[in-house]
């Protein structure tokens, strides 16, 4: 049985109130972060013609942007830890906006690689990391719901910005569109302004000890790295995270998932056309998927928040992955238009469920202190499967015209494998955690009993000492009172003064 969510923050998070405004800010920020690399592809043809670049050169823009966005994770974690989320999101928004505006004046493809790809990508990276971090600071009980709502920004922005971009392109050409898009990205600064830092209560000496609830006790092994995370957050890559079993399992499962996750999106239109659909309907399939995704993410967050699922959230995550993979595996059996639409719907459901939970599960595993550095590490490692996945699938697509479903089989099986791996791994992990916890409880008990014994010993010895002290005091007192009496007597006798010296001497 998985433990209930651990409160390792050191304070009780608001779980509401201004937190919902923060969710809105995170929604906007994450929306821009995930949708921008995809919607830029609308401009590619126009840029290609104007700057005389080849198709593959143009496609690099998206890849560089995604790579910068994911690879900048560790840097972003360190900055967020140092400065807090608000200034970082505002800086990220500023970087993106300015880079787009400058790129609109570009005269060569290298110019665009640098400004949109590298600087824009880095700006988005800052946005992403900071938004996720602040959600983990503001929410605990309602965190899955908050995560689901924030991650829903990605499909919402995709559905809104894509037609907007098309309109801008027709109206202003690609230069004017990038110019205006840059201004739109400055809205990330508005999102950043919403991310008010959490009002922390003053740290008291015994506050950390007093805050541990009973539940936190049960996830005892998680608290050990917590303290180390706070210290090591200044480092870029916190290798001690790899000692955490849960983290390593999560990483492996996620790498497999990401390898197979994006390729179906990229190649679905190609596949649909090969099955006899026309270009317009094929593109429409992706819109359907995005639309479904928009609603599935918050619903998944709500579902994950319920008391039946929250403790078992890692298993729910595995289930979502397996569902997604099975969807892909079944797709080759469907080749009519109606079936492909149904596939797009189920794909949207699966994809949305996984992405609503993907960061929530990491927060659940790592706790809020470790999460920023963990997410930075996860994103930089996920960079590789993300960049390798679509070309590998593309290779399969090009391999044969008759068997265009091969890439779906590959992606589906990889994703199902990831889901099953995570399921088994989490079973093992929780089993080991329970065992360790039981051991720890025993040790604690022993420690307590031994401490009690020691305390008792101490007390008895103290009592004995005190008694001794008291008796010796009494004796002294008696002695001293006796002395006093004697002195008085002596004084009297001195006043009387007749040959009593001998007596005095004898008495003294």
């Amino acid at each position: 049985m998985a433990p209930a969510p651990a409160n390792t923050l050191g304070y009780k998070p608001p779980d509401g109130g201004w937190g919902w405004m923060v969710v809105i800010g995170a929604h906007i920020s994450i929306g821009f972060a995930y949708s921008t690399p995809k919607v830029l592809s609308i401009f590619f043809k126009a840029i290609q013609e104007d700057l005389g670049a080849s198709y593959s050169e143009i496609a690099w823009i998206s890849s560089i942007m995604l790579a910068a966005m994911y690879a900048g994770g560790p840097v972003s974690s360190v900055l967020v830890d140092r400065f807090g989320s608000r200034p970082i999101v505002m800086l990220g928004g500023l970087m993106c906006g300015v880079s787009m505006v400058i790129a609109s004046f570009g005269t060569s493809i290298a110019y665009i690689y640098f400004f949109i790809g590298i600087i824009g990508g880095s700006g988005l990276c800052l946005n992403l990391n900071a938004s996720l971090t602040i959600i983990s600071k503001y929410f605990l009980v309602r965190r899955p719901l908050a995560n689901g709502l924030a991650m829903a920004g990605s499909p919402v922005f995709l559905c809104v910005v894509a037609p907007l971009n098309q309109y801008l392109l027709d109206r202003f050409g690609w230069r004017g569109s990038l110019f205006i898009l840059g201004a739109l990205m400055l809205n990330c600064c508005v999102a950043g302004a919403l991310m008010r830092p959490v009002a922390l209560p003053p740290r008291r000496r015994d506050s950390r000890a007093s805050l541990k609830t009973v539940e936190e006790q049960r996830s005892g092994s998680n608290t050990e790295p917590e303290g180390s995370c706070v210290k090591k957050a200044k480092k870029f890559i916190n290798l001690s995270l790899f000692k955490n079993r849960g983290f390593v399992f999560y990483l492996i499962g996620n790498m497999l998932y990401i390898f197979g996750a994006y390729a179906p999106i990229v190649f679905l239109p190609v596949y649909a056309v090969s099955q006899g659909l026309d270009n317009y309907s094929a593109a429409y399939l992706l819109s359907i998927m995005g639309f479904v995704d928009m609603f599935v993410r918050p619903c998944t967050g709500l579902l994950a928040n319920s008391k039946w699922i929250r403790p078992r959230i890692q298993y729910f995550f595995s289930f979502a992955m397996v569902f997604n993979g099975v969807c892909h595996l079944l797709c080759p059996l469907l080749n009519t238009h109606a079936f492909l639409v149904a596939y797009a719907v189920f794909f949207g459901v699966g994809f949305g469920m996984v992405f609503a939970l993907i960061f929530e599960c990491l927060m659940d595993l790592m706790g809020s202190q470790c999460f920023p550095s963990a997410v930075g590490l996860v994103t930089i490692i996920e960079c590789f499967p993300m960049l390798l996945g679509p070309p590998a699938a593309g290779f399969l697509v090009d391999l044969s015209d008759d068997h265009k479903y091969l890439f779906l089989l590959m992606c589906g099986s990889v994703i199902v494998a990831a889901g099953l791996f995570l399921f088994v791994a989490n079973l093992y992990n929780y089993h080991m955690l329970d065992k360790e916890k039981a051991q720890k409880d025993q040790e604690q008990q022993k420690l307590r009993t031994s401490e009690n014994q020691e305390q008792q010993k101490l007390r008895t010895s103290e009592n004995q000492e005190q008694q001794k002290l008291r008796t010796s005091e009494n004796q002294e007192q008696q002695v001293s009172t006796a002395e006093g009496e004697r002195e008085e007597h002596a004084a009297e006798s001195v006043t009387k003064q007749t040959g009593t010296k001998d007596d005095n001497e004898a008495q003294a």
Partner: protein, 309 residues
Amino acid sequence: MSASWGKLFFQLVLLLASCGHINTKTPSPTSPSLDPISPLPSDIRRVVLKGESHTEKVELLNPVDLALECIWSGNENKSPNITGYWRKDGEEMQSIRVTVQLENDKYTLRQVFKIVSKENLGSYSCSFGDEAKADFLLAGPQIGEVRDKPIVSYVGDSVVVKCKMDEKKPKPASWNWYKANGTDKEQIFYAAEPQKYEIKNHEWVTKLVVHKLTEGDSGFYYCEGVYAVSTTMGHVELKVITFLEPLKPFIAIIVEVIVLVAAILIYEKSQSKKNSAGGNETNADQTNTPTPGDNNGPEESSSTRQRKV
């Protein structure tokens, strides 16, 4: 004696040959000039008339002897003879009006036309009396991609206007570019203004590069692909705008961002002032009361044992 027989024989052959050519003369009313001896490739288009009229598109690129055939099954009263005649671009070709016999329950009208130049293209119609008609539209191939949305570019920038022929069809021998000037089309000569225009042709694609755009460069541009006998025309619209156009929404959005950020920060300041005015409530214990003490696991921060008083 044999020489004169030989000459006679030769002249006879010539006569026969020229007689053979008379039936395939060009459809223009004027008498044709001497036909070239080199044979042209031949092609045939056949149309079976069902109902009143029919239109068939014929794409022609190279000179060809084109045979056009119309077959009609007739109407209720199948008269044995009917007049069949041809029209080019609406004008009747008097010289080839024939009487068509009813054969196998249908009328067949066939004519071979020599297509060697642009004038030979157009609309050819075959008619059976006044009752059935078919049209053949002889033209060059359609341009492959016609861009329906205008290309947008900026003053002072340079732009590439592209025309692409379908790669399944043969490539044009050359390309011409025209700019619409009112209702006319004015040809753009490459050499005349080399600073302004550049034409790059590459197989199926032609590109017109226009440098140093001005607002006057807006309008329609026509690309014409030239084949042996035909040409084909495509058009692209170019719109040139100044930088002020996207600047207006840009400034509007910037203003909106600044206003929102300022509003949020001011609201926050006012909230915190209220809070600090109402006593240090925010610093109040959001923490739980200390749970009675059996929870000291390996705690890194407080290693001292708590002695509960």
